[in-house]
């Protein structure tokens, strides 16, 4: 009788775990926009979107390994990614979301990164990812586009 009860409990727990896993996970504040903007459209004309609130969707191709404070989303076009950055501690994205899809919302920030800034970022990222970074890959100043936000849905 006890074994049967234990088996039932385990099945219920397993079913609940599967149900929870299948659900989408919400992080931070609720998404408010209804229209999804293509990442490729933002890159095609960053200045047009600078300071504007957008909702973007894509695969999560990278996650901040230290604080979970940013996601890199793949664009609708290949070879393009966009970073979704949140204030440290506001949202902590677990690394388990890597490879899943996300819908995020925030304000587009456009800034020009100097060579020195890119090199510093490259070294920091390489240290975080335990890889190496070659400063020679930096050819000149680069326009950096990111989404500063407070809310995301991962599915």
């Amino acid at each position: 009788m006890r074994k049967a009860a234990a088996a039932v409990v385990m099945m219920v727990v397993a079913a609940a775990a599967v149900a929870v896993a299948a659900q989408e996970k919400k992080f931070g504040t609720a998404l408010t926009l209804t229209e999804v903007t293509k990442v490729s459209d933002i890159y095609a004309n960053p200045e047009k979107f600078s300071g504007k609130r957008v909702q973007v969707q894509g695969p999560i191709v990278d996650v901040c390994a230290q604080m979970g404070c940013w996601l890199a989303l793949g664009s609708d076009q290949e070879f393009q990614t966009i970073r979704f950055k949140v204030e440290d501690g506001v949202i902590v994205f677990p690394m388990s979301v890597k490879g899943m899809n996300a819908k995020v919302e925030g304000v587009i920030s456009v800034e020009t990164l100097s060579v020195e800034q890119q090199i510093a970022q490259g070294h920091e990222h390489a240290k975080e990812q335990k890889t190496t970074f070659d400063p020679k890959t930096v050819k000149g100043p680069k326009v950096n586009v990111m989404i500063k936000g407070e809310g995301a849905v991962v599915f």
């Binding site: 604080m67 979970g68 070879f79 902590v92 677990p94 490879g99």
Partner: protein, 181 residues
């Protein structure tokens, strides 16, 4: 003195209540404090292997070529090409980073550190919601412990005795840091 008896009883019992949370925040604090040197929440393991260079020119064709060579039978979560020479294949807890022209692969395996991951999630209030309330109550309990602790003993070893000098010494640590840094 009746208030001191209450103070000591509450100090003792609240102290018992916060033992577990203090250990969680203390251990996690040590781990997070040295984040620059290690990843306190995840164990990251990178291994290298080589497969045949991928000849397909589109993403789906590359995936079809790569999966059997990598021995992957499950459906990947996702795949992405960050640049023309790289294909990323995502599985739960594992990312395959394939250099398309050479077939060199880096397998990036990320697993949460047992116990420490959960402790850090609590410390960083990653889940928000109910934990925010628990953390607030814990913070108030710590403030109470600090204040009530000063009045547990009377006489020479109490606050009015040598205790005040210890309290002053302890206060000088954060004060001194901000003045001298």
């Amino acid at each position: 003195m009746k208030w001191r008896r209450w103070n000591n009883t509450l100090h003792r019992d609240v102290g018992y209540l916060v033992v577990a949370l203090t250990l969680v925040y203390g251990i996690s604090g040590l781990a997070i404090n040295h984040m620059a040197d290690w990843n306190p929440s995840y164990r990251q393991q990178k291994t290298a292997l080589t497969i045949q260079p991928l000849t397909a020119t589109d993403r789906d064709g590359m995936i079809k070529e790569a999966l059997p060579q990598l021995g992957i039978t499950e459906e990947p979560r996702n795949a992405f090409r960050p640049d023309p020479d790289t294909l990323q294949i995502f599985l739960p807890e594992k990312t395959y980073l394939i250099d398309v022209p050479t077939g060199q692969v880096i397998v990036d395996r990320v697993r949460p550190r047992p116990v420490l991951f959960e402790m850090n999630q609590m410390h960083l209030n990653a889940t928000k919601g109910v934990w925010t309330v628990i953390a607030d109550v814990y913070a108030v309990a710590l403030i109470f412990m600090a204040i009530s602790g000063m009045f547990v003993l009377r006489g020479k070893t109490g606050f009015t005795g040598r205790g005040k000098w210890f309290v002053l010494g302890g206060a000088l640590v954060p004060l001194g840091y901000y003045i001298l840094r």
